[in-house]
Symmetry: C2
C-alpha cells in the first residue's frame, strides 16, 4: 500500500497516517488480518519520527482497527469496529462545522449530498477494482 | 450570541471559535454586517488568550467571513463568501477521511446521508425560528 503524507499540510502527520490507513481499509487495499510494517520500518520508509507512527498505531488500536502483538507485530483487526453510537456522535460533531460552512456559503444541500455520494462511489470503485 | 468552547476538546480553541462563528452565520444568529466584540473583549468574555481570538478572526477574515476595520471594529461581511471551487476541494478533502471511516465500519451510505440531511435541517430550523 502506498502511503502518501503531505508534509506541508496543517493536518498533523499522525492524523494523516491514521486517515491513510483507514482509507486503505475502506478501499480494500488493506484487508482484515493483514500485516503492517513495524513502527520502526514504517517510520524509516516514510522518513518520519517513530513517535508519529507509534501515536497513529495506538490511536488505531484504541479504535479497534489494529492489533498490536509484541511478537506477531501489527495487523489490521480481523473483525473491524462497527458504526456504533459513539462513532455516530463523533461523525455528527465532525460534520457539523463542515455543513455549517456549506450553509453559510449558500451551498445547496443536494450539491453537498452529491459530493458525499461521489466519495462513497470512489471507495466502492477501488474496492471493486481490487477484487 | 452564546459562544461555547470545550476546553477539554482535542480541537484547538481558535478552530472551535472559527467553527462557532461560522455556525452562527449558518443558523442566522449572526447576520451579515453585524458587529462582533473586539479581540480584547471576546478574549476577556471567554477567558481565553487574545492571540487565540486574533487568530480565529484573521482566519475568518482571510476566508471572507469577517471585515476587520481599525476604527469600526469587527463585523460579519455584508456579502458572504460563496461555495467556490476552492471550498468544494477543501470540503471533499475534509469529508474523505470521515466517509472512509464510515465505510470501513460498515455504515450504510443512506445512513450517512440521513445524518447529513438532519444537520442541514437543524440549521434551517434555527434559521426559521430566528425569523
Amino acid at each position: 500500500m502506498l502511503l502518501e503524507l503531505d508534509l506541508e499540510s496543517e493536518r498533523p502527520l499522525y492524523q494523516q497516517l491514521v486517515n491513510a490507513i483507514i482509507k486503505g481499509i475502506a478501499t480494500g487495499e488493506l484487508q482484515p488480518g493483514e500485516s503492517l510494517p513495524s513502527v520502526r520500518m514504517l517510520a524509516q520508509d516514510l522518513g518520519i519520527n517513530m513517535h508519529t507512527v507509534n501515536k497513529a498505531y495506538h490511536l488505531l488500536k484504541a479504535d479497534g482497527f489494529l492489533h498490536i502483538h509484541r511478537q506477531k507485530g501489527v495487523t489490521i483487526a480481523s473483525v473491524l469496529p462497527s458504526a456504533d453510537r459513539a462513532f455516530h456522535e463523533k461523525t455528527r460533531a465532525d460534520l457539523e462545522p463542515i455543513i455549517a460552512e456549506a450553509v453559510s456559503r449558500g451551498m445547496a444541500e443536494d450539491n453537498f449530498l452529491a459530493l458525499c455520494r461521489s466519495l462513497f462511489a470512489e471507495m466502492r470503485a477501488k474496492r471493486t477494482a481490487k477484487k
